[in-house]
Assembly symmetry: C2
Homo-oligomer: 457 residues x 2
């Protein structure tokens, strides 16, 4: 029976040669954000260990791969890269909305600084980070970028949550919760780095708060430390007009020009906000390959101004998105809202409805955020070899039907509440809208207790 | 046992004299938006028939009322007035996101008008209205204001959904889906009014599309018809700069001044958008008690500009909020997003973080919307005697904890997905996030079918 055995072999071949994946995720659409911006209808992603092993049509993937686990969102799911938050202050989740609709100085001096002085300690930081990670992961964020205190505790907690993060230990020119001097902060940062170097999820960073809260020497020490270990340096940059004007009056140069003159831009750097950058600043940032974080919610709510995003992106500067802190400047960690706002704000301020289209808003939340962090080879798109950080967003809801274009729908109609599944580093951390790694009940209880405690001032 | 019987009577008294409510809704906070803007901690609302019979502390209400039905959100719920959408085009839900990031003329002429010419018919209008009502009610909107075609079918469908609406039959100077001439539209409108007069949920309205799409005579006929029956007149007003500039070039006056000169503002009127109103226009609108609808999402996305909301509200003009249509100008019907955006947009454009605080954003979505529609005696706040239109919003979610101020939380942190229960005209239409009046599955199936049909052009 030579013909029959040949047929038998032919039938057996796909099974025999099918490779083993740990996870296959199928979706009605796979939005890759790869270099060709491919959107695959009825697509799938195969995951092996912590990385993406294949991306293609569901039919191809099913033929070539078997899987231990599956997430099947083939009927209505959009599979997309995990969202990347490039600027936030996670533990401030416990101060969410503590003081709104105030002038920046009143807000900081009458509410935020006193509340932080009184309440910020290791326990506060741990619970605040848990609450933030829970909200972020349920809403589709897979990587976040932080600037706060006790960053090594934030790292431990984030790692337990299974989330990826770039965590910047704050260096600031006055005594704060975790240190009395910038020198102490720099020691903390170095110890933090040593503890988490080569960690698969945590990237330690050096975070001088801003030019107006640090001496030139401290800024330079931060750069030296960052370059010693190739860490990113995170800094608030030209967020408010006052910050710019004051420095120009005092030193005769913008924050960006000061940083350049000090050599602080010579290495991996991410500047948050960039609202008041001028053309010369942008050219400098481009030259140094500095990344930026656009924070539309925060810049609107605190009336800081509007960053020239279209121009910045047009120059080839990598600008991601960040929700900033939830204690008055947002008040949440919702990357879907930041995408929607970034697109709408660019349109209304330019008078051009074609400015910052949906595709570009999604890029800011994914691949451009990755580039801004210097991590574009690892995250930010669904491509073979990259880390398996992906989300499934469900479209079978009244606000997401009908669906003509998945990218447009993601940016303009869908919500963080539509995220059903989240995979980070190959591990499923959210399944059917529920956290698999964090105890939601315990976190919500603690958050309410902190609220009651902090409210009594 | 005289003392014992006295005690017995005393215990019995509250039960004997307790009045009978049809529904009692208790919440951790009751945000009334009444004239004193009272927020009641551990509060309750008693409903009898279609109206609110009592508002007070939960303890008081429980003492004075018994109830046939209860919604108990005492642990984490905010009870608030139902949200009022003052400008939308409901059936366009079926064209959600059909064409984004385009210039207005391309969007209208290449996509919207052809799609409407081909697809808009009674079935389209019915399914589009169902989809819109489902999304709106699940997201806490209890009253909406529409401008479209076949408005009597929209009325029937909305009534079946159990939703309150002000429905404006469009009058426009070219042939459309439901009529060939403005005269035909006016006849439709009058028939529509006769069919729905004294309806508890539906308020028919006359809706001349805009000054630039109608003759002076048609605009005046609309006013006459509206005043004959005391109907509201709804009209797009100074949405784009082009609309203003063109009229000034042609007629030497702004749209508002033209409407005043024609007598069109002499009666109940609501103008949508009002982006390009100048001081003289505002004074005219104030004099005529004209209401306005602010549409921040739409004005941003279509790059129409930014209405001077703070100034308008400061003059005492009633300006509500509207998501506009979902076919490119938004792309959803989310009043939580409109509140958040209205507040943030006012701050960033004025450079003042105190502009349009949370309280005022909530007012726009409730009592000011009611006033803009001339319905402030019936809806827009939780007050005795008003219609029982209310929502319960749950705060036990990671993005809404801790909670320091319920109004601030509603506007800046909470989402349409946090709405758990919706009562309209005393009837529970959404319970635990599920529609009680509409068949969600059937609607989502139809929406997907329309999507597939419309996409093939």
């Amino acid at each position: 029976m030579p013909r029959l055995s040949k047929l038998f072999l032919l039938l057996l071949t796909p099974l025999c040669f099918a490779a083993q994946a740990d996870l296959i995720v199928t979706g009605r659409w796979v939005v890759t954000v790869d270099p060709t911006r491919r959107v695959i209808e009825n697509g799938a992603v195969a995951v092996v260990g912590d990385h993406i092993a294949a991306v293609g049509s569901a039919a191809e993937i099913q033929k070539q791969w078997t899987a231990k686990r599956r997430i099947d969102a083939g009927a209505d799911g959009i599979v997309a890269p995990g969202l990347i938050n490039t600027h936030t202050h996670a533990p401030m989740s416990l101060l969410r909305g503590i003081a709104d609709d105030l002038k920046l100085q009143d807000w900081l001096e009458k509410y935020i600084f006193p509340a932080e002085a009184k309440h910020v300690n290791p326990e506060f930081v741990r619970w605040g980070t848990r609450l933030a990670c829970l909200e972020m992961m349920l809403g589709g964020t897979t990587t976040y970028t932080d600037m706060y205190y006790f960053e090594e505790l934030i790292a431990e907690t984030t790692k337990q949550a299974g989330m990826r993060a770039v965590l910047g230990q704050t260096v600031i020119g006055f005594p704060v919760a975790d240190a009395k001097t910038p020198a102490e902060e720099l020691i903390r940062t170095e110890n933090f780095f040593k503890k988490f170097k080569d960690d698969p999820l945590i990237t330690p960073a050096v975070a001088p708060h801003a030019v107006y809260t640090n001496s030139d020497e401290t800024l330079q020490s931060c750069r030296r430390l960052a370059n010693k270990y190739n860490l990113p340096l995170l800094i608030h940059l030209s967020e408010t007009k006052k910050e710019n004007d004051d420095l120009i009056a005092k030193r005769g140069m913008s924050p960006t020009r000061l940083l350049e003159s000090l050599g602080v831009l010579d290495g991996r750097t991410l500047g948050a906000h960039g609202v008041w950058l001028d053309d010369a600043d942008m050219a400098i940032l481009k030259k140094h390959n500095t990344g930026l974080a656009h924070c539309p919610s925060s810049n609107m709510k605190l009336a800081s101004g509007v960053a020239q995003v279209t121009k910045i992106l047009g120059m080839g500067i990598a600008m991601g998105l960040g929700p900033d802190g939830p204690a008055g400047s947002n008040n949440d960690f919702d990357m879907f809202e930041e995408m929607d706002l970034a697109a709408k704000l660019a349109k209304v301020t330019s008078g051009n409805p074609q400015a910052l289209p949906a595709t570009q808003a999604l890029e800011m939340a994914t691949i451009l955020g990755a580039r801004a962090l210097g991590m574009e080879k690892e995250i930010g798109s669904l491509e073979v070899g990259k880390k398996a950080d992906l989300i499934v967003v469900r479209s079978r809801t009244p606000h997401a039907q009908p669906l003509f274009n998945p990218v447009s729908q993601l940016v303009y109609a869908m919500k963080s509440s539509d995220v059903s599944d989240v995979v980070i580093n190959g591990k499923t951390v959210v399944r059917n809208g529920k956290s698999m790694t964090l105890d939601s009940n315990a976190i919500l209880n603690q958050a309410a207790l902190y609220g009651a405690k902090i409210a009594i001032r």
